[in-house]
Assembly symmetry: C2
Homo-oligomer: 598 residues x 2
């Protein structure tokens, strides 16, 4: 059986679990109808199943090559990208003024889920462009917008983010790349950036680099960093391409996965300085960059979702096809049966499928909170904007970290289902593990996400923001546990224990922060983040099961079975995570002797 984009499942989650349909019903998107959502998603699914997904292995085998400063992508890649932007897929969220469709981020997220199922290395590039569009739209001058934004919105050109330097990754305070005002409104940029995703390629005629650098008089640390737009080719006033700018890819990383995504070392100013334009105010570059990074974190989380879906389908199809052994109770010496009959294989596949639905739900729900925030800002409702902004702030690190860790776990289970074939590269299962592994690292490692969650997001509105979420989660588990459906009632009561675990742990962390026990709180940040993801995920499965039942949706029984599996097989871990956070911090910090070299 060949891979197919599971459009119906995704659309249900988008409309009913994330909440897009409520927003449509409330009139937040006058141009968007229920049917249009279906049509867009079906076409995305078709394009992906037919055009993107078949190139997955090809892209890994060919990878990218760097010769004389120019990166070439795998054969067929440029044509695929061209067809993809002609389908309008790059412009889903961009501003209408510059050719965008201004669709909700929820739809862009579901579409990104689709492309990541097809090929994560392909889907990654447009994520960066999307970030560049947001930063320019919010912070650039009208002149810069006029010159660059439409090309980026349509995907005619692509964007990059240039933060990292050899001595400066998670901590940007040590940044050394320099910018010097020329006097004509431009700047000369000199320095070296590393790990630049899609830093160079042959998919588009031009590439728009968003580069962080220091002005000569800038304060030390992160308050002295400015953001610059540095195009690969200068752009004439009529929009045609001019001279090549003084920026070049000088190195290409040899990576574990996503081989078709060029990770470049970029050299700026080897011949006097690359010409750049300031975006936003001087020394406020970090704030501008965070505009780019925030949604990028969600998009990285969605990479985990897409890879998990592909890994699940690959493993499920193999398990249906591969005969080995017999089912329990079959007559001895009878024919071998498909390995999907074995309980342990079913456990693995149930885990893969259910976790995929969980991280999809969390990620779409995060996009929903961002859409709500934007809608509230647009309508001038400050209270709503604050509420949903905080909600989005809490959900973003969870969507990023839990989805990416889970994506890798699911990909690894996919290898296991394949047995020996899983270790053979041609099978494709191993590539999904190799590809997905980066997602827990880039756009802020998952450890950094956990620090953000505990130290900045938990305390929002004095802890009220997170407590409101807990109350909502408790509402769903209560509704389930009061159901006349015995299975649903059991699920509700099991998941309610997880909500209580999360509640207790949240209170403990808030108290630790208040008491200044920062190291203890930080020691529990990663297990807390996972506890949050598991609990929220189980609650969203309940939500999906209840709504599917109410609507008589064909997925109702499936969603109930997933919620049941999750509640009884995966959710019990929450109690252990609570224990770890609450009782384990001091032992985790008492590490000097254990970590000393022999």
């Amino acid at each position: 059986m060949a891979y197919r984009t599971p459009v119906a499942d995704m659309v249900f989650t988008l409309k009913h679990v994330a909440g897009l349909n409520d927003m449509i019903a409330e009139g937040a998107y006058p141009d968007l109808s229920d049917d249009l959502v279906d049509a867009v998603m079906q076409e995305a699914g078709r394009f992906n199943t037919e055009e993107v997904a078949p190139l997955l292995s090809h892209s890994d085998v060919h990878g990218c090559k760097l010769e004389e400063g120019q990166v070439t992508t795998p054969p067929g890649w440029a044509a695929l990208y061209r067809a993809w932007i002609e389908g309008g897929w790059n412009s889903l969220t961009g501003p209408e003024e510059f050719g965008g469709q201004e669709l909700p981020l929820q739809m862009a997220s579901a579409a990104m889920d689709v492309w990541n199922q097809g090929c994560m290395a392909f889907a990654l590039g447009p994520t960066l462009t999307m970030g560049a569009v947001e930063a320019l739209d919010k912070h650039a001058t009208p002149e810069l917008k006029a010159k660059y934004l439409e090309k980026l919105v349509t995907g005619e050109w692509m964007g990059t983010m240039n933060l990292t330097e050899p001595g400066c990754g998670s901590d940007l305070s040590g940044m050394r790349t320099k910018a010097q005002a020329v006097g004509d409104g431009t700047y000369k940029i000199t320095g070296q950036k590393i790990f630049i995703t899609y830093g160079d390629h042959d998919l588009t005629d031009n590439i728009v680099h968003m580069v962080l650098a220091r002005l000569p008089d800038a304060p030390a640390g992160t308050r002295g960093i400015s953001l610059f737009l540095v195009p690969k080719f200068l752009v004439n006033d009529d929009g045609t391409l001019g001279a090549r700018n003084d920026v070049e890819a000088v190195g290409l990383e040899h990576k574990l996965g996503i081989h078709a995504s060029a990770t470049c070392t970029m050299s700026y100013g080897d011949n006097g300085g690359a010409i750049g334009w300031l975006v936003g105010e001087e020394n406020r570059g970090l704030a501008c960059m965070f505009t780019m990074m925030n949604n990028a974190r969600l998009m990285v989380g969605i990479q985990g979702v897409g890879v998990a879906e592909r890994a699940f389908q690959m493993a499920r199809d193999y398990a249906l096809d591969r005969n080995q052994g017999q089912s329990v109770g079959a007559p001895k010496g009878g024919a071998m049966e498909a390995i999907i009959v074995h309980p342990d294989v079913r456990r693995m596949l149930m885990t893969m499928r259910t976790l995929t639905e969980v991280i999809r739900s969390i990620s779409y729900r995060c996009a929903h909170a961002i859409d709500r925030t934007n809608a509230a800002i647009a309508s001038g409702n400050n209270e709503e904007a604050k509420h949903w902004g905080e909600r989005a702030g809490i959900l973003t690190p969870i969507a990023k970290s839990f989805s990416t860790d889970t994506g890798t776990d699911v990909a690894s289970l996919g290898i296991q289902v394949h047995g020996g074939m899983g270790f053979i590269e041609e099978t494709g299962a191993a590539q999904l593990l190799r590809d997905s592994r980066i997602a827990s690292i880039y756009e802020g490692t998952n450890g950094i996400q956990a620090i953000d969650l505990v130290t900045r997001k938990l305390p929002l509105s004095g802890g009220t923001a997170i407590k409101e979420m807990l109350i909502e989660m408790g509402g769903w588990t209560a509704k389930a546990s009061q159901s006349e459906d015995e299975t649903l009632a059991m699920i509700g009561s099991e998941m309610n224990e997880s909500v209580e675990d999360l509640n207790f742990t949240t209170e403990w962390l808030l108290a630790a922060l208040k008491a200044g026990r920062m190291e203890q709180a930080l020691a529990g940040a990663t297990p807390f983040q996972r506890l949050f993801g598991l609990t929220l995920g189980g609650v969203l499965l309940i939500k999906g099961a209840i709504i599917a039942q109410e609507l008589g949706d064909p997925s109702a029984e499936k969603r109930l079975a997933m919620a049941r599996f999750f509640a009884t097989n995966l959710a019990p871990e929450t109690a252990a995570l609570m224990d770890t956070v609450v009782n384990g911090a001091d032992a985790a910090l008492d590490s000097d002797k254990v970590l000393a070299a022999e």
Copy 2:
């Protein structure tokens, strides 16, 4: 800081946690002294640190090549192997009559831990040879032994195991390779075998293939399989090499990891039939093969231990070296500090180091049970032999599965500690994940180990064998919890909860088996296996901490800190696993709707 074999830590675990010193004290090994153990292990450590470990990345980059039926290994590999066998490292456990040193399997296990730290792909080959030695020693005719055994014991020649065929992996009943008696005591072997580790290479002049095949009159299924010795080159009566046999490597797999270990497709009899000799009785080949596989399972478990140790050291050294951010409470804007100051990094490293000690302890303890069994058999003590044989039977699937799953988890954490550098192949962290991933699959997937544990090992002696283990574990937690040392007492009482979880789950599974609820028992097999590994591992950490304290060993504080970290941060998972086994089976089996294609 460069990697170094942690000999002192390993020797303590070997002597005191596994129990080698007790056996030496009891006189089980008259030629072995406490000092000799130290000397052997120190020399192994030196050879590994200086000779094997530096070739790790080199072996991955070069890999193996197949040209005209001949596999070549990476440059330098053959010289390394030659030096290694000249050091006597291949002959540690072989029979004295054929040049072996007859050292305990515990020492061979610790040595194998050493070589796997150096390079898993290198350590893997001799594991197969070791299996061939055991099978021939137990089952071959005196003539075959005289011709082959000494060369295999010294490592002058290497051995292979040929089981798998395209349609026949975990289930060997469908095997098709044929053997036909020639009439002169030899057999003609024809057929194709896949996934043959070290199937061909240039390390030795000859390779001795142990091949499963069917005789013409053999019963169907696994009771009709016989074992044959098939040399790459025929051996003359004077021991010199004769004609090339009709066996050839015709394919080489392109794998996720262990690139320097050639995984071959072997073709037997393309030109009339490869000449082979029967080993053991006709149609009893599977029993002979299990002689090879049993210890091989432990050796695969030890691959997880070795890789975990290397991954830990690599990550720890990086965390000491890489400056990024500041510690809690440091003055703002001060210098960046090594990332090991961050609580989340310390948690990762503590997890890596503690889990490495756990799986080392379990694996050495498994070797100890096998040594006890062999000693009891040698001294004719049937009761002891039965007791320790059952103990070894229980420990083997746990040592195999828990150590390999954990090895991969630790390797993946190692990538995470490295941040973006972890995804770059040259760093080396990614290779450890790629290498280790196969260990959960080969020599019986970890799912197969779990089935073995639950359906064959749990019921040994009516469940008494496993209950005796639980009582012993409870003895250690009781001793700890009664200690005057408050920390130790807390650890004992925490770990005792895990022992109770394991106890309850064991009883539940035994009852399910008795009631014929086989599918339910099998659905919980994998979580039960992990529950067993975690509980036993925590208890062995306690044992190590108590004995180190009693002996005033310099590792005492470190071992206590590890036991504390484990008890409060990792052991809480056991309650969740109990829940999953006891309450989750029906939901895991209710998979039809969830796993159906959209």
